[in-house]
């Protein structure tokens, strides 16, 4: 008996969950996010199947984790590809529907129309507007949040039983909300549209645009026609003038052709690419060299106090990188930095680390070596321990010195197993946006480029700047560069997997 109750309870919970999920999906769909709605619906359907079918029992354990990977790793990757084929940017931010709505919300003042005195009243967190025309007729708006885009709201003649309005807000508050009020037009019961025309006044207005069946808009004031251009993402007048705001349009491969054929983009792109590879390569080389030398020293039995040394060497790795990078930023400062003070005392030399490209690059490499060598040391130490001691005994009998030992025995034996780690480290530094953003910000910039691009920018910090720092916020272009980077990382990963597999097979 209790068993069936349990079953009913489970069904009830499932039903509620499904209803809630469907509600969310419907809401997302109504907001115009078709793709997102479909993805959510698919997730919901799969979830329902997993938790009801006994055949999918093992997927019950997998579902939450796999969903997290799917939604926050796979979906962003796919979405990045999708964005790279659009002109999504701060100028083309809205969807086509939203952009149309924006234009349809525009109004113009009718000459000789009636004017209305108005007052603004608080209603909880929202506001209501009271209009009174010259004949003394009163209209009241519903509560408005006053932060949305242009909208048209119906205002009514107040009924006898309505709660009275609060006291009108004072002029200071009114002025602060005036920009928001300008976006709101009211439709009176007689069909007349009114908008703000002064600090205390509303005036009769008319809609500026009328929608046509083919998606174009007719300007009611001068009868000109705005046609949406689906290639550029703008509404255009007959003379080709573009009106803001634009909308996000599919632009095909044009972001990619821009990167590779437009010289003002391709030049910085290739220069940055060369520096990215150089930076990642040298970082790996330097950290490995320092790390492996220390690892060899730490394996030397004659040396006492190795445990202490090891801990000291490891400290750069344990301090959060964002703090050590900033410490270096201050120490390298040209005028007040302590490094320059020491250099000046020793040699009178006063380098400008942040404004000379070659010095900025060296500084990045110095800091990155400092940050990365402890990891290489720990990894190499493990591998060196695995080398059989009799090899060294044999070489000692043959009269070999420590240098011969290192180059003929140690290095050849650890290079192969450490290779996948070196490639992983290369891939990490290839995308090391934190170091660049915190230390140089990519600067000093190239002077001859259209988009801001720095001599110390990595490809990934270059995209970061295009998308989030540069005033243009060109998401489409950034997504295209990211897509290219994805391919590069994929190639690196494949090489890495191949090498790892070879190592595993040889170990057998």
């Amino acid at each position: 008996m209790s068993r069936s109750f349990e079953k009913i309870g489970q069904l009830l919970v499932a039903a509620i969950a499904v209803m809630f999920g469907l509600y969310v999906v419907a809401k997302i769909y109504m907001a115009g996010q078709f793709i997102l709605a479909v993805v959510c619906l698919a997730v919901l359907a799969f979830g329902l199947f997993v938790y009801t079918s006994s055949r999918a029992y093992s997927y019950r354990y997998l579902f939450p984790g796999l969903m997290a990977t799917l939604v926050f790793v796979v979906f962003p990757i796919v979405y990045t590809f999708a964005i790279s084929f659009t002109n999504y940017s701060s100028r083309n931010l809205l969807t086509f529907e939203r952009a149309t709505e924006y234009f349809l919300g525009q109004t113009y003042m009718v000459e000789g129309g009636q004017s209305y005195a108005f007052t603004l009243h608080r209603d909880g967190h929202a506001f209501r507007v009271r209009l009174e025309d010259e004949q003394g007729d009163v209209f009241v708006s519903p509560p408005l949040a006053l932060y949305k885009g242009p909208i048209i709201v119906e205002a009514q003649v107040p009924a006898a039983g309505d709660a009275p309005l609060a006291e009108p807000v004072d002029t200071k508050v009114l002025i602060s909300y005036l920009p928001n009020l300008k976006l709101v037009s009211f439709q009176l019961p007689n069909g007349q549209l009114v908008s703000v025309t002064g600090l205390r006044q509303y005036g009769a207005v008319s809609k500026l645009y009328k929608a046509n069946a083919d998606g174009s808009l007719t300007n009611q004031q001068d009868d000109s026609v705005l046609t949406p251009n689906m290639k550029t993402g703008f509404f255009e007048t007959s003379s080709g003038q573009q009106l803001t705001p634009g909308f996000t349009a599919q632009v095909g491969w044009s972001q990619y052709t821009k990167i590779f054929s437009d010289a003002s983009f391709s030049q910085p792109f290739f220069r940055i690419f060369v520096w990215t590879v150089t930076f990642a390569g040298l970082s790996v080389l330097f950290t490995f060299c320092v790390g492996v030398v220390l690892a060899v020293l730490m394996d030397w039995d004659a040396l006492r106090g190795r445990a202490f040394y090891q801990t000291m060497f490891f400290i750069p790795y344990t301090v959060p990188a964002f703090i050590s990078i900033l410490i270096f930023k201050g120490l390298f400062n040209q005028n007040t930095g302590e490094i320059n003070q020491i250099l000046e005392m020793l040699s009178g030399f006063h380098p400008s680390w942040f404004s000379t490209p070659i010095l900025a690059k060296s500084m990045l490499l110095i800091v990155n070596t400092w940050l990365g060598f402890p990891y290489m040391m720990v990894v190499s130490m493990g591998l060196i321990k695995a080398i059989p001691a009799d090899l060294y005994e044999a070489s000692a009998i043959a009269g070999a010195g420590p240098l011969t030992n290192f180059f003929k025995i140690t290095l050849p034996l650890i290079v192969k197993p450490i290779m996948p780690l070196l490639i992983a480290s290369f891939a990490f530094n290839f995308n090391n946006v934190m170091l660049i953003e915190l230390l140089t910000g990519g600067r000093p910039d190239f002077l001859d480029t259209k988009v801001p691009a720095g001599t110390t920018d990595l490809l990934v910090s270059f995209t970061y700047r295009i998308a989030f720092e540069d005033s243009g916020t060109n998401f489409g272009l950034a997504a295209a560069i990211s897509t290219i980077l994805f391919l590069m990382v994929a190639v690196l990963s494949l090489i890495n997997m191949r090498l790892t597999k070879v190592n595993v097979q040889e170990a057998r």
Binding site: Y61, V73, W300, L326, A396
Partner: protein, 296 residues
């Protein structure tokens, strides 16, 4: 050691010691410097490296107290460092907790059950964790911007959104825990099942207590990873009170407003606890990773 020693051996040892100590001085230089700067008065003073006058103004400001300067001017703390530290700890521990729960259940299924596409999924996860989230920043930003339109506490400028974004990095932990599960003999659970336990009960009451060490390791790894994460946090969080430490601390060193001394104290105050956790965790993590689940 059976290695033959020659005469120069002793000198080599001494030389190695000198070189190592020199190198340690070099790598410790930034930390010694930053400590000296934090107790030196003023933000621009370029005095001696060992401060002649000791002032606690930067430390007072870092702890959020205002400070009466020697010239009578009242200095107010510029940035809420302790709040940033708290934000970081909050985001990191919650996301680490979620990651542990999600990856443990997943790893259990991968280690113990047979199902369709299992190997494809495992390899897919391995491949996915090689793509850093920096590359999908534009998409991540857009996704959370849109989510925020419906659910504000998961959108841009919310810690909920950031926590959610971090839960994506689950793949590497699934592999880690799966490897540990495989060191536990299947017979233990089978015995439980013979006694009448369901699959979930065997997982919850038998297996879970055995694998606690690896869960600690995963929690710490995820925690440290989230504390140190910069790019995603920097695009999702903007207002001063909302920032995590990684995004916030750089505000001290804007060229227009260069607070070198205040930064020094704030860096030590916020960096030291994290460093201590890391150092402490390091020993523990190595022992957790190397010893299997079954003793004896």
């Amino acid at each position: 050691m059976a290695v033959v020693l020659d005469k120069s051996h002793r000198w080599r040892v001494v030389l190695a010691h000198i070189a190592i100590i020199g190198f340690i001085c070099l790598i410790m230089f930034p930390f010694l410097m930053i400590f000296s700067i934090s107790i030196r008065p003023g933000n621009f003073a370029t005095g001696s490296f060992i401060p002649q006058t000791i002032s606690l103004e930067h430390w007072a400001l870092a702890f959020g107290f205002s400070y009466q300067g020697a010239d009578g001017a009242l200095l107010e703390p510029q940035f809420p460092v302790l709040l940033w530290l708290w934000n970081s700890v909050k985001v990191a521990s919650l996301s680490a907790l979620i990651l542990v729960v999600l990856s443990t259940t997943c790893a259990y299924a991968f280690a113990r059950m047979k199902f369709l596409f299992k190997n494809y999924m495992l390899n897919g996860l391995l491949l996915l964790q090689m793509f850093p989230s920096v590359l999908a920043l534009v998409a991540i930003y857009t996704i959370f911007d849109r989510i925020g339109n419906y659910v504000p506490w998961l959108g841009i400028e919310s810690h909920g959104g950031l926590i959610l974004a971090y839960t994506g990095g689950i793949a590497v932990y699934i592999w880690l825990i799966k490897g540990y599960f495989e060191t536990v003999p299947v017979e233990i659970e089978e015995a439980a099942k013979v006694d009448g336990a369901t699959a979930f009960q065997a997982f919850r009451y038998v297996l879970l207590p055995i694998i606690v060490p690896i869960l600690m390791v995963v929690f710490l790894l995820a925690f440290i990873g989230a504390i140190n994460e910069y790019p995603v946090a920097s695009i999702l969080l903007k207002s001063t009170d909302n920032l995590t430490l990684a995004v916030g601390v750089k505000n001290y060193l804007y060229p227009q407003k260069y607070l070198w001394g205040d930064f020094a104290a704030a860096a030590i105050l916020s960096g030291l606890p994290i460093t201590v956790v890391f150092l402490f965790a390091q020993k523990w993590m190595i022992s957790g990773l190397t010893t299997g689940g079954v003793k004896g």
